[in-house]
Amino acid sequence: MGQFLLRRLFDAVPTVLLVLTLVFVAMRILPGDPALAALGDNALPEQLAAFREQFGLNKPLWRQYLDFLAGVLTFDLGRSLLHNQPVVSLLAHALPFTVELTLVATFIGVGIGVPLGVLAATHRNRLPDSGVRLFSLVGYAVPDFYLGALLLIVFSLNLGLFPINGGGVGFWDRMYHVMLPAITLAFLKAAFIGKLTRTSLLEVFGKDFVRTARAKGAREGRVIYRHALRNALLPLTTGLGISLLATLSGSVAVELVFNRPGVGTLLIGAISERDYAVIQGGIIVFALLVVVVNLLIDLLYIAVDPRLRVQA
Protein backbone atom coordinates (compact mmCIF):
# COMPACT_ATOMS: atom_id res chain seq x y z
CA MET A 1 0.00 0.00 0.00
CA GLY A 2 2.72 2.45 1.03
CA GLN A 3 4.74 1.59 -2.03
CA PHE A 4 1.70 2.04 -4.23
CA LEU A 5 0.99 5.42 -2.66
CA LEU A 6 4.54 6.53 -3.34
CA ARG A 7 4.37 5.41 -6.95
CA ARG A 8 1.03 7.14 -7.50
CA LEU A 9 2.42 10.35 -6.01
CA PHE A 10 5.42 10.04 -8.28
CA ASP A 11 3.12 9.47 -11.28
CA ALA A 12 1.28 12.67 -10.42
CA VAL A 13 4.42 14.79 -10.84
CA PRO A 14 4.34 15.00 -14.66
CA THR A 15 0.58 15.64 -14.50
CA VAL A 16 1.09 18.54 -12.12
CA LEU A 17 3.89 19.88 -14.31
CA LEU A 18 1.68 19.66 -17.39
CA VAL A 19 -1.18 21.37 -15.55
CA LEU A 20 1.11 24.19 -14.41
CA THR A 21 2.42 24.55 -17.97
CA LEU A 22 -1.15 24.85 -19.26
CA VAL A 23 -1.90 27.52 -16.66
CA PHE A 24 1.26 29.37 -17.68
CA VAL A 25 0.32 29.18 -21.36
CA ALA A 26 -3.25 30.27 -20.66
CA MET A 27 -2.11 33.23 -18.56
CA ARG A 28 0.80 34.51 -20.69
CA ILE A 29 0.17 33.68 -24.30
CA LEU A 30 -3.57 33.67 -24.92
CA PRO A 31 -4.62 37.14 -23.77
CA GLY A 32 -2.06 39.09 -25.77
CA ASP A 33 -0.54 41.69 -23.48
CA PRO A 34 -1.35 40.90 -19.83
CA ALA A 35 -0.21 44.35 -18.73
CA LEU A 36 -2.71 45.99 -21.07
CA ALA A 37 -5.39 43.48 -20.07
CA ALA A 38 -4.78 44.11 -16.38
CA LEU A 39 -4.45 47.89 -16.42
CA GLY A 40 -6.85 48.73 -19.23
CA ASP A 41 -6.50 50.74 -22.41
CA ASN A 42 -6.06 54.04 -20.56
CA ALA A 43 -2.93 52.95 -18.68
CA LEU A 44 0.12 55.20 -18.97
CA PRO A 45 3.26 53.76 -20.60
CA GLU A 46 5.12 54.07 -17.28
CA GLN A 47 2.42 52.07 -15.50
CA LEU A 48 2.60 49.36 -18.14
CA ALA A 49 6.38 49.23 -17.81
CA ALA A 50 6.16 49.02 -14.01
CA PHE A 51 3.61 46.22 -14.28
CA ARG A 52 5.81 44.28 -16.70
CA GLU A 53 8.76 44.78 -14.41
CA GLN A 54 6.83 43.58 -11.35
CA PHE A 55 5.57 40.40 -13.00
CA GLY A 56 8.77 39.76 -14.95
CA LEU A 57 6.95 40.06 -18.27
CA ASN A 58 9.93 41.72 -19.97
CA LYS A 59 12.11 38.66 -19.42
CA PRO A 60 12.37 35.95 -22.09
CA LEU A 61 9.53 33.44 -22.03
CA TRP A 62 11.62 30.45 -20.87
CA ARG A 63 12.90 32.53 -17.97
CA GLN A 64 9.35 33.54 -17.04
CA TYR A 65 8.35 29.87 -17.13
CA LEU A 66 11.17 28.82 -14.80
CA ASP A 67 10.45 31.73 -12.44
CA PHE A 68 6.80 30.71 -12.46
CA LEU A 69 7.60 27.09 -11.55
CA ALA A 70 10.08 28.21 -8.88
CA GLY A 71 7.40 30.53 -7.47
CA VAL A 72 4.87 27.69 -7.23
CA LEU A 73 7.43 25.43 -5.53
CA THR A 74 8.33 28.07 -2.94
CA PHE A 75 4.71 29.12 -2.39
CA ASP A 76 5.42 32.54 -3.81
CA LEU A 77 2.63 33.48 -6.19
CA GLY A 78 3.17 37.22 -6.09
CA ARG A 79 1.09 39.96 -4.49
CA SER A 80 -2.50 40.93 -5.06
CA LEU A 81 -2.76 44.46 -6.49
CA LEU A 82 -6.27 44.80 -5.09
CA HIS A 83 -5.80 43.47 -1.55
CA ASN A 84 -2.11 44.38 -1.27
CA GLN A 85 -1.39 40.99 0.31
CA PRO A 86 0.60 37.95 -0.77
CA VAL A 87 -1.60 35.76 -3.01
CA VAL A 88 -0.66 32.67 -0.98
CA SER A 89 -2.09 34.08 2.25
CA LEU A 90 -5.31 35.11 0.45
CA LEU A 91 -5.63 31.57 -0.91
CA ALA A 92 -4.76 30.00 2.46
CA HIS A 93 -7.59 31.98 4.01
CA ALA A 94 -10.10 31.07 1.29
CA LEU A 95 -9.26 27.40 0.71
CA PRO A 96 -10.76 25.96 3.95
CA PHE A 97 -14.15 27.45 3.07
CA THR A 98 -14.13 25.78 -0.35
CA VAL A 99 -12.90 22.42 0.97
CA GLU A 100 -15.46 22.54 3.79
CA LEU A 101 -18.28 23.22 1.32
CA THR A 102 -17.18 20.42 -1.01
CA LEU A 103 -16.86 17.86 1.81
CA VAL A 104 -20.16 18.66 3.52
CA ALA A 105 -21.94 18.64 0.15
CA THR A 106 -20.40 15.26 -0.64
CA PHE A 107 -21.53 13.74 2.68
CA ILE A 108 -25.07 15.00 2.22
CA GLY A 109 -25.18 14.02 -1.46
CA VAL A 110 -23.90 10.48 -0.91
CA GLY A 111 -26.04 10.11 2.22
CA ILE A 112 -29.17 10.90 0.23
CA GLY A 113 -28.16 9.50 -3.16
CA VAL A 114 -27.20 5.94 -2.18
CA PRO A 115 -30.43 5.13 -0.24
CA LEU A 116 -32.44 6.69 -3.10
CA GLY A 117 -30.64 4.46 -5.59
CA VAL A 118 -31.29 1.38 -3.40
CA LEU A 119 -34.95 2.36 -3.15
CA ALA A 120 -35.24 2.75 -6.92
CA ALA A 121 -33.44 -0.52 -7.67
CA THR A 122 -35.48 -2.57 -5.19
CA HIS A 123 -38.75 -1.09 -6.49
CA ARG A 124 -37.87 -1.27 -10.16
CA ASN A 125 -40.50 0.21 -12.50
CA ARG A 126 -42.73 1.10 -9.57
CA LEU A 127 -43.57 4.44 -8.03
CA PRO A 128 -40.31 5.00 -6.04
CA ASP A 129 -38.30 4.20 -9.17
CA SER A 130 -40.22 6.77 -11.25
CA GLY A 131 -39.85 9.27 -8.43
CA VAL A 132 -36.09 8.83 -8.34
CA ARG A 133 -35.93 9.05 -12.14
CA LEU A 134 -37.85 12.33 -12.08
CA PHE A 135 -35.59 13.62 -9.28
CA SER A 136 -32.45 12.80 -11.26
CA LEU A 137 -33.88 14.41 -14.43
CA VAL A 138 -34.56 17.65 -12.56
CA GLY A 139 -31.28 17.36 -10.67
CA TYR A 140 -29.38 17.22 -13.95
CA ALA A 141 -31.26 20.18 -15.41
CA VAL A 142 -31.43 22.78 -12.65
CA PRO A 143 -28.31 24.98 -12.56
CA ASP A 144 -26.70 24.96 -9.10
CA PHE A 145 -26.54 28.75 -8.82
CA TYR A 146 -30.27 28.93 -9.56
CA LEU A 147 -31.12 26.29 -6.94
CA GLY A 148 -28.88 28.17 -4.51
CA ALA A 149 -30.71 31.43 -5.23
CA LEU A 150 -34.10 29.71 -4.72
CA LEU A 151 -33.02 28.22 -1.37
CA LEU A 152 -31.66 31.63 -0.39
CA ILE A 153 -34.98 33.29 -1.26
CA VAL A 154 -37.09 30.75 0.62
CA PHE A 155 -35.02 29.76 3.67
CA SER A 156 -32.93 32.86 4.31
CA LEU A 157 -34.92 35.81 3.02
CA ASN A 158 -38.48 34.66 3.73
CA LEU A 159 -38.19 32.16 6.58
CA GLY A 160 -35.02 33.58 8.13
CA LEU A 161 -33.80 30.07 9.03
CA PHE A 162 -30.31 30.41 7.54
CA PRO A 163 -27.76 33.22 7.21
CA ILE A 164 -27.79 35.22 3.98
CA ASN A 165 -24.05 35.36 3.39
CA GLY A 166 -20.58 34.89 4.79
CA GLY A 167 -18.63 31.89 5.98
CA GLY A 168 -19.08 32.02 9.76
CA VAL A 169 -16.66 31.95 12.69
CA GLY A 170 -16.01 28.88 14.85
CA PHE A 171 -17.04 25.31 14.02
CA TRP A 172 -20.81 25.38 14.65
CA ASP A 173 -21.29 28.79 13.09
CA ARG A 174 -19.37 27.62 10.03
CA MET A 175 -21.50 24.48 9.77
CA TYR A 176 -24.57 26.69 10.04
CA HIS A 177 -23.29 28.90 7.21
CA VAL A 178 -22.23 25.99 5.01
CA MET A 179 -25.54 24.12 5.27
CA LEU A 180 -27.60 25.86 2.57
CA PRO A 181 -24.80 26.06 -0.05
CA ALA A 182 -23.92 22.42 0.71
CA ILE A 183 -27.54 21.30 0.24
CA THR A 184 -27.56 23.18 -3.07
CA LEU A 185 -24.55 21.26 -4.36
CA ALA A 186 -25.71 18.00 -2.75
CA PHE A 187 -28.92 18.10 -4.79
CA LEU A 188 -27.16 17.51 -8.10
CA LYS A 189 -24.82 15.03 -6.45
CA ALA A 190 -27.70 13.02 -4.95
CA ALA A 191 -29.40 12.89 -8.37
CA PHE A 192 -26.23 11.61 -10.02
CA ILE A 193 -25.25 9.14 -7.26
CA GLY A 194 -28.86 7.91 -6.97
CA LYS A 195 -29.08 7.11 -10.68
CA LEU A 196 -25.66 5.46 -10.65
CA THR A 197 -26.46 3.37 -7.54
CA ARG A 198 -29.65 2.15 -9.20
CA THR A 199 -27.88 1.11 -12.43
CA SER A 200 -24.97 -0.62 -10.69
CA LEU A 201 -27.23 -2.39 -8.19
CA LEU A 202 -29.53 -3.71 -10.93
CA GLU A 203 -26.49 -5.10 -12.69
CA VAL A 204 -25.30 -6.86 -9.53
CA PHE A 205 -28.79 -8.17 -8.69
CA GLY A 206 -28.56 -10.49 -11.69
CA LYS A 207 -25.36 -12.13 -10.44
CA ASP A 208 -25.16 -15.68 -9.06
CA PHE A 209 -23.88 -14.73 -5.61
CA VAL A 210 -26.94 -12.57 -4.98
CA ARG A 211 -29.19 -15.50 -5.88
CA THR A 212 -27.13 -17.75 -3.61
CA ALA A 213 -27.45 -15.28 -0.74
CA ARG A 214 -31.21 -15.18 -1.24
CA ALA A 215 -31.39 -18.98 -1.59
CA LYS A 216 -29.64 -19.58 1.72
CA GLY A 217 -32.25 -17.40 3.34
CA ALA A 218 -30.35 -14.20 4.07
CA ARG A 219 -32.56 -11.29 5.00
CA GLU A 220 -33.26 -8.84 2.16
CA GLY A 221 -31.43 -6.00 3.92
CA ARG A 222 -28.35 -8.19 4.29
CA VAL A 223 -28.54 -9.27 0.65
CA ILE A 224 -28.70 -5.65 -0.51
CA TYR A 225 -26.17 -4.02 1.78
CA ARG A 226 -23.70 -6.89 2.43
CA HIS A 227 -23.71 -8.66 -0.90
CA ALA A 228 -25.07 -6.44 -3.67
CA LEU A 229 -24.05 -2.90 -2.68
CA ARG A 230 -20.49 -3.88 -1.78
CA ASN A 231 -20.04 -5.27 -5.24
CA ALA A 232 -21.55 -2.17 -6.79
CA LEU A 233 -18.99 0.06 -5.04
CA LEU A 234 -16.50 0.17 -7.91
CA PRO A 235 -18.68 2.11 -10.38
CA LEU A 236 -19.88 4.16 -7.41
CA THR A 237 -16.28 5.14 -6.64
CA THR A 238 -15.85 6.40 -10.20
CA GLY A 239 -19.13 8.28 -9.80
CA LEU A 240 -17.98 9.76 -6.51
CA GLY A 241 -14.85 11.10 -8.24
CA ILE A 242 -16.85 12.66 -11.06
CA SER A 243 -19.31 14.24 -8.67
CA LEU A 244 -16.57 15.50 -6.33
CA LEU A 245 -15.04 17.35 -9.28
CA ALA A 246 -18.45 18.63 -10.38
CA THR A 247 -19.05 19.88 -6.83
CA LEU A 248 -15.68 21.58 -6.78
CA SER A 249 -16.42 23.49 -10.01
CA GLY A 250 -20.03 24.10 -8.98
CA SER A 251 -18.77 25.63 -5.74
CA VAL A 252 -17.50 28.66 -7.68
CA ALA A 253 -21.00 29.83 -8.61
CA VAL A 254 -22.60 28.71 -5.35
CA GLU A 255 -20.02 30.58 -3.28
CA LEU A 256 -20.89 33.66 -5.27
CA VAL A 257 -24.64 33.23 -4.60
CA PHE A 258 -24.10 32.87 -0.84
CA ASN A 259 -21.21 35.32 -0.77
CA ARG A 260 -18.89 32.79 0.89
CA PRO A 261 -15.24 33.83 1.24
CA GLY A 262 -13.92 30.77 -0.69
CA VAL A 263 -11.48 30.33 -3.56
CA GLY A 264 -14.29 30.64 -6.16
CA THR A 265 -15.38 34.05 -4.86
CA LEU A 266 -11.74 35.15 -4.70
CA LEU A 267 -11.08 33.99 -8.29
CA ILE A 268 -14.21 35.54 -9.82
CA GLY A 269 -13.61 38.79 -7.94
CA ALA A 270 -10.02 38.83 -9.20
CA ILE A 271 -11.15 38.23 -12.79
CA SER A 272 -13.58 41.14 -12.73
CA GLU A 273 -10.97 43.40 -11.08
CA ARG A 274 -8.20 42.07 -13.35
CA ASP A 275 -6.10 41.17 -10.33
CA TYR A 276 -3.60 39.19 -12.37
CA ALA A 277 -1.62 37.37 -9.65
CA VAL A 278 -4.77 36.26 -7.82
CA ILE A 279 -6.35 34.92 -11.03
CA GLN A 280 -3.24 32.85 -11.64
CA GLY A 281 -3.11 31.65 -8.02
CA GLY A 282 -6.81 30.72 -7.96
CA ILE A 283 -6.50 28.75 -11.19
CA ILE A 284 -3.45 26.89 -9.85
CA VAL A 285 -5.32 25.96 -6.66
CA PHE A 286 -8.32 24.60 -8.59
CA ALA A 287 -6.08 22.71 -11.01
CA LEU A 288 -4.13 21.14 -8.14
CA LEU A 289 -7.36 20.24 -6.32
CA VAL A 290 -8.47 18.33 -9.44
CA VAL A 291 -5.19 16.38 -9.44
CA VAL A 292 -5.54 15.66 -5.69
CA VAL A 293 -9.15 14.46 -6.05
CA ASN A 294 -8.15 12.13 -8.89
CA LEU A 295 -5.32 10.77 -6.73
CA LEU A 296 -7.67 10.19 -3.78
CA ILE A 297 -10.15 8.38 -6.01
CA ASP A 298 -7.38 6.08 -7.26
CA LEU A 299 -6.55 5.24 -3.63
CA LEU A 300 -10.21 4.67 -2.87
CA TYR A 301 -10.37 2.08 -5.67
CA ILE A 302 -7.70 0.10 -3.88
CA ALA A 303 -9.56 0.34 -0.59
CA VAL A 304 -12.84 -0.71 -2.19
CA ASP A 305 -11.60 -3.57 -4.37
CA PRO A 306 -8.99 -5.87 -2.76
CA ARG A 307 -8.29 -7.45 -6.17
CA LEU A 308 -6.68 -4.19 -7.31
CA ARG A 309 -4.30 -4.36 -4.35
CA VAL A 310 -2.63 -7.41 -5.84
CA GLN A 311 -2.18 -5.73 -9.21
CA ALA A 312 -0.86 -2.60 -7.58
Partner: protein, 293 residues
Protein backbone atom coordinates in the same frame (compact mmCIF):
# COMPACT_ATOMS: atom_id res chain seq x y z
CA UNK B 1 -41.81 -29.18 -45.63
CA UNK B 2 -41.34 -25.56 -46.43
CA UNK B 3 -38.05 -23.96 -47.14
CA UNK B 4 -36.77 -21.04 -45.15
CA UNK B 5 -36.71 -19.10 -48.39
CA UNK B 6 -40.50 -19.24 -48.54
CA UNK B 7 -40.63 -17.16 -45.41
CA UNK B 8 -38.31 -14.42 -46.52
CA UNK B 9 -41.15 -12.19 -47.59
CA UNK B 10 -42.67 -12.64 -44.14
CA UNK B 11 -39.54 -11.36 -42.42
CA UNK B 12 -39.90 -7.64 -41.95
CA UNK B 13 -37.20 -5.56 -43.61
CA UNK B 14 -34.89 -3.80 -41.18
CA UNK B 15 -36.71 -0.58 -40.33
CA UNK B 16 -35.04 2.64 -41.34
CA UNK B 17 -33.75 4.93 -38.61
CA UNK B 18 -36.48 7.43 -39.40
CA UNK B 19 -39.12 4.79 -38.69
CA UNK B 20 -37.42 3.86 -35.42
CA UNK B 21 -37.25 7.52 -34.49
CA UNK B 22 -40.98 7.96 -35.11
CA UNK B 23 -41.78 4.89 -33.05
CA UNK B 24 -39.58 5.97 -30.19
CA UNK B 25 -41.15 9.42 -30.19
CA UNK B 26 -44.66 7.95 -30.06
CA UNK B 27 -43.57 5.50 -27.35
CA UNK B 28 -42.25 8.17 -25.07
CA UNK B 29 -44.59 11.01 -24.22
CA UNK B 30 -41.77 12.70 -22.28
CA UNK B 31 -39.71 12.97 -25.47
CA UNK B 32 -42.70 14.42 -27.33
CA UNK B 33 -43.08 16.98 -24.55
CA UNK B 34 -39.35 17.75 -24.78
CA UNK B 35 -39.55 18.29 -28.55
CA UNK B 36 -42.59 20.53 -28.08
CA UNK B 37 -40.77 22.52 -25.40
CA UNK B 38 -37.71 22.98 -27.60
CA UNK B 39 -40.03 23.98 -30.47
CA UNK B 40 -41.62 26.66 -28.31
CA UNK B 41 -38.24 28.07 -27.31
CA UNK B 42 -37.03 28.03 -30.94
CA UNK B 43 -40.16 30.00 -31.93
CA UNK B 44 -39.61 32.46 -29.06
CA UNK B 45 -35.99 32.96 -30.10
CA UNK B 46 -36.90 33.35 -33.78
CA UNK B 47 -39.69 35.85 -33.23
CA UNK B 48 -38.14 37.59 -30.22
CA UNK B 49 -38.52 41.12 -31.69
CA UNK B 50 -42.23 40.51 -32.28
CA UNK B 51 -42.91 38.85 -28.92
CA UNK B 52 -40.92 41.07 -26.59
CA UNK B 53 -43.09 43.89 -25.20
CA UNK B 54 -40.07 46.24 -24.86
CA UNK B 55 -36.58 46.69 -26.22
CA UNK B 56 -34.29 44.54 -24.03
CA UNK B 57 -31.60 47.24 -23.86
CA UNK B 58 -33.69 50.38 -23.28
CA UNK B 59 -33.01 51.78 -19.83
CA UNK B 60 -35.36 53.91 -17.81
CA UNK B 61 -34.26 55.72 -14.69
CA UNK B 62 -37.81 56.26 -13.46
CA UNK B 63 -38.63 52.53 -13.57
CA UNK B 64 -35.74 50.96 -11.67
CA UNK B 65 -36.22 47.63 -9.83
CA UNK B 66 -39.97 47.45 -10.29
CA UNK B 67 -41.91 44.42 -9.01
CA UNK B 68 -44.02 42.49 -11.56
CA UNK B 69 -47.06 44.38 -12.86
CA UNK B 70 -49.46 44.25 -15.81
CA UNK B 71 -47.04 46.54 -17.62
CA UNK B 72 -43.88 44.54 -16.81
CA UNK B 73 -44.80 40.91 -16.16
CA UNK B 74 -41.47 40.06 -14.56
CA UNK B 75 -40.68 43.56 -13.35
CA UNK B 76 -37.65 45.65 -14.29
CA UNK B 77 -33.96 45.38 -13.39
CA UNK B 78 -31.56 47.84 -11.79
CA UNK B 79 -31.38 49.86 -15.03
CA UNK B 80 -35.16 49.89 -15.50
CA UNK B 81 -35.00 47.38 -18.37
CA UNK B 82 -37.97 45.05 -18.89
CA UNK B 83 -36.92 41.62 -17.55
CA UNK B 84 -39.39 39.61 -19.65
CA UNK B 85 -38.07 41.19 -22.85
CA UNK B 86 -34.51 40.44 -21.75
CA UNK B 87 -35.48 36.84 -21.09
CA UNK B 88 -37.12 36.51 -24.52
CA UNK B 89 -34.03 37.89 -26.27
CA UNK B 90 -31.78 35.85 -23.96
CA UNK B 91 -33.23 32.64 -25.43
CA UNK B 92 -31.42 33.44 -28.70
CA UNK B 93 -28.06 33.41 -26.98
CA UNK B 94 -28.68 30.15 -25.15
CA UNK B 95 -29.99 28.23 -28.15
CA UNK B 96 -27.39 29.43 -30.65
CA UNK B 97 -24.50 28.73 -28.28
CA UNK B 98 -26.10 25.40 -27.37
CA UNK B 99 -25.85 24.37 -31.02
CA UNK B 100 -22.61 26.08 -32.04
CA UNK B 101 -20.34 25.03 -29.17
CA UNK B 102 -20.92 21.24 -29.48
CA UNK B 103 -20.71 21.57 -33.29
CA UNK B 104 -17.32 23.29 -33.14
CA UNK B 105 -16.14 20.81 -30.48
CA UNK B 106 -17.29 17.92 -32.70
CA UNK B 107 -15.37 19.23 -35.71
CA UNK B 108 -12.12 19.81 -33.80
CA UNK B 109 -12.45 16.80 -31.52
CA UNK B 110 -13.32 14.38 -34.34
CA UNK B 111 -10.39 15.62 -36.40
CA UNK B 112 -7.99 15.07 -33.49
CA UNK B 113 -9.52 11.70 -32.61
CA UNK B 114 -9.48 10.40 -36.17
CA UNK B 115 -5.88 11.51 -36.70
CA UNK B 116 -4.82 9.85 -33.42
CA UNK B 117 -6.78 6.67 -34.03
CA UNK B 118 -5.87 6.28 -37.69
CA UNK B 119 -2.18 7.10 -37.67
CA UNK B 120 -1.26 5.92 -34.16
CA UNK B 121 2.37 6.26 -33.05
CA UNK B 122 3.78 9.43 -31.55
CA UNK B 123 0.87 11.59 -32.76
CA UNK B 124 -1.55 9.29 -30.99
CA UNK B 125 0.51 9.30 -27.80
CA UNK B 126 0.65 13.09 -27.65
CA UNK B 127 -3.05 13.58 -28.41
CA UNK B 128 -4.14 10.81 -26.03
CA UNK B 129 -2.01 12.15 -23.18
CA UNK B 130 -3.44 15.65 -23.59
CA UNK B 131 -6.98 14.28 -23.82
CA UNK B 132 -6.51 12.11 -20.70
CA UNK B 133 -5.28 15.11 -18.76
CA UNK B 134 -7.98 17.53 -19.92
CA UNK B 135 -10.79 15.00 -19.47
CA UNK B 136 -9.92 14.74 -15.79
CA UNK B 137 -10.95 18.40 -15.45
CA UNK B 138 -14.63 19.22 -15.05
CA UNK B 139 -15.92 21.14 -18.10
CA UNK B 140 -17.06 24.11 -16.02
CA UNK B 141 -13.66 24.50 -14.38
CA UNK B 142 -11.92 24.23 -17.74
CA UNK B 143 -14.33 26.81 -19.17
CA UNK B 144 -13.72 29.18 -16.23
CA UNK B 145 -9.95 28.86 -16.67
CA UNK B 146 -10.05 29.52 -20.43
CA UNK B 147 -12.62 32.30 -20.04
CA UNK B 148 -10.44 33.94 -17.40
CA UNK B 149 -7.71 34.16 -20.04
CA UNK B 150 -9.85 34.94 -23.10
CA UNK B 151 -12.56 37.17 -21.63
CA UNK B 152 -16.29 37.11 -22.37
CA UNK B 153 -18.35 37.88 -25.45
CA UNK B 154 -20.32 35.72 -27.87
CA UNK B 155 -17.55 34.10 -29.93
CA UNK B 156 -15.29 33.69 -26.93
CA UNK B 157 -18.03 31.70 -25.12
CA UNK B 158 -18.41 29.44 -28.16
CA UNK B 159 -14.63 28.90 -28.25
CA UNK B 160 -14.37 28.40 -24.47
CA UNK B 161 -17.17 25.82 -24.34
CA UNK B 162 -15.97 24.06 -27.48
CA UNK B 163 -12.46 23.83 -26.03
CA UNK B 164 -13.88 22.36 -22.81
CA UNK B 165 -15.83 19.73 -24.81
CA UNK B 166 -13.13 18.79 -27.34
CA UNK B 167 -11.45 16.07 -25.20
CA UNK B 168 -14.72 14.11 -24.95
CA UNK B 169 -15.20 14.14 -28.73
CA UNK B 170 -11.56 13.30 -29.38
CA UNK B 171 -11.69 10.29 -27.06
CA UNK B 172 -14.84 8.82 -28.64
CA UNK B 173 -13.66 9.55 -32.20
CA UNK B 174 -10.31 7.90 -31.51
CA UNK B 175 -11.82 4.71 -30.07
CA UNK B 176 -14.35 4.47 -32.91
CA UNK B 177 -11.70 5.12 -35.56
CA UNK B 178 -9.52 2.35 -34.19
CA UNK B 179 -12.47 -0.04 -34.32
CA UNK B 180 -13.47 0.93 -37.87
CA UNK B 181 -9.86 0.87 -39.08
CA UNK B 182 -9.72 -2.87 -38.30
CA UNK B 183 -12.80 -3.59 -40.46
CA UNK B 184 -12.27 -5.70 -43.59
CA UNK B 185 -13.65 -2.99 -45.88
CA UNK B 186 -10.96 -0.58 -44.74
CA UNK B 187 -8.31 -3.23 -45.28
CA UNK B 188 -9.77 -3.83 -48.74
CA UNK B 189 -9.63 -0.12 -49.49
CA UNK B 190 -6.01 0.05 -48.34
CA UNK B 191 -5.17 -3.02 -50.44
CA UNK B 192 -6.76 -1.57 -53.56
CA UNK B 193 -4.62 1.54 -53.22
CA UNK B 194 -7.19 4.11 -52.13
CA UNK B 195 -5.47 7.23 -50.80
CA UNK B 196 -5.34 7.73 -47.04
CA UNK B 197 -7.45 10.89 -47.06
CA UNK B 198 -10.09 9.24 -49.19
CA UNK B 199 -10.25 6.29 -46.78
CA UNK B 200 -10.66 8.67 -43.85
CA UNK B 201 -13.34 10.77 -45.53
CA UNK B 202 -15.26 7.97 -47.28
CA UNK B 203 -14.90 5.04 -44.89
CA UNK B 204 -13.94 6.21 -41.42
CA UNK B 205 -15.88 9.44 -40.90
CA UNK B 206 -19.31 8.19 -42.09
CA UNK B 207 -18.98 5.12 -39.89
CA UNK B 208 -18.13 7.00 -36.72
CA UNK B 209 -20.73 9.73 -37.34
CA UNK B 210 -23.53 8.20 -35.24
CA UNK B 211 -21.81 8.29 -31.84
CA UNK B 212 -20.45 11.77 -32.61
CA UNK B 213 -23.96 13.06 -33.36
CA UNK B 214 -25.21 11.43 -30.16
CA UNK B 215 -22.45 13.16 -28.23
CA UNK B 216 -23.35 16.49 -29.83
CA UNK B 217 -26.97 16.27 -28.74
CA UNK B 218 -25.95 15.19 -25.25
CA UNK B 219 -23.59 18.16 -24.92
CA UNK B 220 -26.16 20.68 -26.16
CA UNK B 221 -27.87 20.68 -22.76
CA UNK B 222 -24.51 21.07 -21.03
CA UNK B 223 -23.53 23.93 -23.34
CA UNK B 224 -26.72 25.82 -22.48
CA UNK B 225 -26.19 25.24 -18.76
CA UNK B 226 -22.53 26.21 -18.92
CA UNK B 227 -23.25 29.38 -20.92
CA UNK B 228 -25.70 30.34 -18.18
CA UNK B 229 -23.10 29.54 -15.50
CA UNK B 230 -20.37 31.56 -17.23
CA UNK B 231 -22.71 34.51 -17.80
CA UNK B 232 -23.77 34.29 -14.16
CA UNK B 233 -20.11 34.46 -13.14
CA UNK B 234 -19.61 37.48 -15.41
CA UNK B 235 -17.37 35.51 -17.79
CA UNK B 236 -19.93 34.81 -20.50
CA UNK B 237 -22.38 37.07 -22.29
CA UNK B 238 -21.38 40.62 -21.41
CA UNK B 239 -23.72 43.38 -20.26
CA UNK B 240 -25.80 44.98 -21.63
CA UNK B 241 -26.53 41.98 -23.91
CA UNK B 242 -29.16 39.80 -22.24
CA UNK B 243 -28.56 36.18 -21.29
CA UNK B 244 -30.44 33.99 -18.82
CA UNK B 245 -27.28 33.68 -16.75
CA UNK B 246 -26.66 37.40 -16.40
CA UNK B 247 -30.35 38.09 -15.72
CA UNK B 248 -29.95 35.88 -12.63
CA UNK B 249 -26.69 37.67 -11.80
CA UNK B 250 -28.43 41.07 -11.96
CA UNK B 251 -31.48 39.72 -10.14
CA UNK B 252 -29.41 38.45 -7.25
CA UNK B 253 -28.44 42.04 -6.38
CA UNK B 254 -32.10 42.91 -5.96
CA UNK B 255 -33.42 39.76 -4.24
CA UNK B 256 -34.92 41.81 -1.43
CA UNK B 257 -36.84 43.93 -3.94
CA UNK B 258 -38.12 41.23 -6.27
CA UNK B 259 -37.07 37.59 -6.70
CA UNK B 260 -39.03 37.19 -9.96
CA UNK B 261 -36.25 37.85 -12.50
CA UNK B 262 -34.14 35.13 -10.82
CA UNK B 263 -37.07 32.68 -10.63
CA UNK B 264 -38.17 33.32 -14.24
CA UNK B 265 -34.76 33.09 -15.91
CA UNK B 266 -33.85 30.02 -13.84
CA UNK B 267 -37.06 28.27 -14.88
CA UNK B 268 -36.24 28.97 -18.52
CA UNK B 269 -32.74 27.46 -18.17
CA UNK B 270 -34.05 24.44 -16.26
CA UNK B 271 -36.80 23.63 -18.75
CA UNK B 272 -34.59 23.99 -21.84
CA UNK B 273 -31.80 21.89 -20.31
CA UNK B 274 -34.34 19.27 -19.18
CA UNK B 275 -35.85 19.15 -22.69
CA UNK B 276 -32.48 18.77 -24.42
CA UNK B 277 -31.41 16.09 -21.91
CA UNK B 278 -34.56 14.07 -22.65
CA UNK B 279 -34.16 14.50 -26.39
CA UNK B 280 -30.46 13.62 -26.20
CA UNK B 281 -31.22 10.39 -24.31
CA UNK B 282 -33.77 9.40 -26.94
CA UNK B 283 -31.47 10.17 -29.86
CA UNK B 284 -28.77 8.12 -28.16
CA UNK B 285 -31.14 5.17 -27.77
CA UNK B 286 -32.06 5.35 -31.46
CA UNK B 287 -28.66 5.96 -33.06
CA UNK B 288 -26.39 4.19 -30.63
CA UNK B 289 -28.31 1.42 -28.83
CA UNK B 290 -25.13 -0.21 -27.50
CA UNK B 291 -24.12 2.64 -25.22
CA UNK B 292 -27.60 3.39 -23.90
CA UNK B 293 -28.38 2.34 -20.36
Amino acid sequence: MTLAADYTELIAPEPSRLVILRQVLLDRPSTMAAVAMIGVFVLIATFAPLLAPYDPLTQSYIKINRVPSAEHWLGTDQFGRDVLSRMIFGSRNSLIIGVLAPLLAAIIGTTLGVVAGFFGGVVDRIISRAVDLLISFPELLLAIIIAAALGGGFWNIVIVLAAAFVPNFARVARAQTMAVRAEPYVEAAVASGVTTWRIILRHIVPNIAAPIVVLMTLWTASAIRLEASLSFLGLGTQAPQPSWGNIIRDGLNNLFGSPWPVIGAGLAITSVVLAFNLLGDTIRDVLDPETSS
